[in-house]
């Protein structure tokens, strides 16, 4: 599975496009795999930034983008890059992005703690706390020599 195929369900999850078992499967992967969790955080941050944008998109621009998106005969993104003007523009944008990536640090990695991680710790610790209930309090003493200790 390539990277895009892995990211797409996470993007759909963030956008609320998944329902039922698909949504549950995505949530399970976010919970279990740290890389998927990082992608989820990145999408959430992107979504939050878009929602925090001060001005809504002008109606004319939105219509124009929608018209381009709906047009079945439009060229693909890669076709556009093959034209000299777009090719140079893309190269310039890539250089600018590379420069920005090295000079502007990502906020969370150096200046703040991930709230998602704290939520995970809260949930996990809560589970452990609740485990002392029904059967555990009646439990026989823990025996390290139980079958599991026969590690291969």
């Amino acid at each position: 599975m390539d990277n895009n195929n892995e990211l797409e369900p996470i993007s759909q999850f963030v956008d609320g496009e998944l329902t039922g078992q698909d949504r549950l499967g995505a949530a399970e992967r976010i919970y279990k795999f740290s890389e998927t969790r990082e992608s989820w955080i990145a999408f959430e941050r992107g979504k939050a930034a878009l929602e925090a944008a001060p001005h809504p998109m002008p109606a004319k621009l939105r219509d124009r983008i929608a018209a381009q998106h709906d047009s079945p005969a439009s060229n693909s993104f890669l076709d556009l890059l093959q034209t000299p003007r777009m090719g140079w523009a893309f190269a310039a944008a890539s250089l600018l992005f590379a420069f920005a990536s090295h000079t502007i640090p990502l906020e969370r990695t150096s200046k703040s703690v991930s709230l998602a991680r704290l939520l995970q710790e809260h949930t996990d610790a809560t589970r452990k706390s609740s485990d002392i209930g029904r059967a555990i309090i009646n439990a026989a003493p823990y025996q390290a020599a139980e079958p599991f200790s026969k590690t291969p």
């Binding site: 949530a27 998602a116 949930t123 809560t126 609740s130 485990d131």
Partner: protein
């Protein structure tokens, strides 16, 4: 006549601060072996999801939960033998063993939790109803302080099996419901049903041991003000455990408070906590107990002295603000 009527009203009142017998049953392990299918429904805003579990129990303390995927495949298996827990992920064929007591490292016992439940909540007896062919007694548990989640249980008084649970968040919205859909009493359980050996794991692992902070003095030795050690919070929450975590190379302290039904976490960090809100984090399965809820309904970030704090719990922002004021 009026006095008699008043007495009748008092005696007939369904509200009581005392633990009803059905609740006592629900707080102990079931009395008989059983196998069941369980449907767990969760609500996130306008959306909902459903997860099927297969639950097996053998007295006094053997549990097995299989989380079933959409095509009937098992996504995860949890086996509990007293305080020992094995978690198996078939996808990666990984088995994790943990001693729940060692991992939790809390100071509150089951007895303490019951005392908190009785102190902080009121109980209302509900009309009995039929669930999975059994007659279930219903109890509604509501916080006396009016803050936090509510829980409703339907318990089989003959077997002690909790047949249905419903959880309401601090806003009064239903967020979770589980119910037994198919119940078999005293089944012939296979010998290896409660054994991790039968799972055929390729990889085995142990959960990492967590670092617990014992008291205010030890907290000071880590460079934090001892005054941040708060044994109690408003709304009946009591300090259960303080853990020292390392998150992204930063030393974070996690204070866990319990009130008998739900948990409030206070995290103390030297660097700020992301302030924007994220979707509620929940897990797909359901614990065998109900005395602590993992529902993280709300988050409040605030400054506490030179540190940065975050309070997480199923409480209103007003209630979390009241909690935040406890920290200097």
């Amino acid at each position: 006549m009026r006095f008699t009527l008043l007495l009748l009203i008092i005696n007939g009142s369904t509200l009581s601060a005392k633990e009803p017998p059905a609740l006592k049953l629900a707080l102990n392990a079931p009395l008989v072996a059983f196998s069941a299918n369980k449907l767990v429904l969760g609500w996130h805003g306008d959306e909902s999801n459903a997860v099927e579990q297969r639950v097996h129990f053998k007295p006094p303390n053997l549990w097995r939960h299989d989380i079933v995927g959409p095509d009937g495949e098992i996504l995860k298996t949890t086996i509990q033998r007293g305080p020992t827990e094995w978690i198996f992920y078939p996808e990666t064929s990984t088995l994790i063993e943990r001693d729940v007591r060692a991992l939790r490292k809390g100071t509150l016992t089951g007895k303490d939790l019951r005392a908190l439940l009785e102190k902080n909540f009121k109980f209302k007896k509900l009309k009995a109803k039929k669930i999975a062919g059994r007659t279930a007694s219903g109890i509604q548990i509501t916080p006396l302080a009016g803050q936090g989640p509510r829980r409703t249980l339907w318990v089989d008084p003959e077997t002690g099996i909790v047949l249905k649970r419903r959880q309401t968040n601090f806003r009064g919205k239903q967020v979770r419901e589980s119910r037994i859909t198919n119940l078999v009493l005293n089944p012939d359980h296979e010998d290896d049903l409660f054994s991790p050996e039968g799972l055929g794991a390729a990889r085995r692992d142990h959960s990492p041991v967590e670092d617990r902070v014992k008291d205010a003095k030890q907290l000071s030795s880590y460079g934090l003000a001892g005054s941040l050690w708060k044994p109690e919070l408003p709304f009946g929450y009591q300090l259960d455990a303080v853990r020292r975590l390392k998150i992204e190379n930063t030393q974070i302290f996690h204070f866990r408070y319990v009130n008998g039904l739900s948990v409030v976490s206070v995290f103390i960090s030297p660097i700020p906590v992301e302030s924007h809100s994220l979707e509620v984090v929940d897990y797909e399965e359901e614990d065998i107990d109900f005395s602590a809820s993992a529902w993280a309904g709300n988050v409040l970030t605030f400054d506490c002295g030179k540190q940065h704090c975050a309070a997480i719990g199923d409480l209103s922002t007003k209630a979390l603000k009241k909690i935040s004021r406890v920290f200097p």
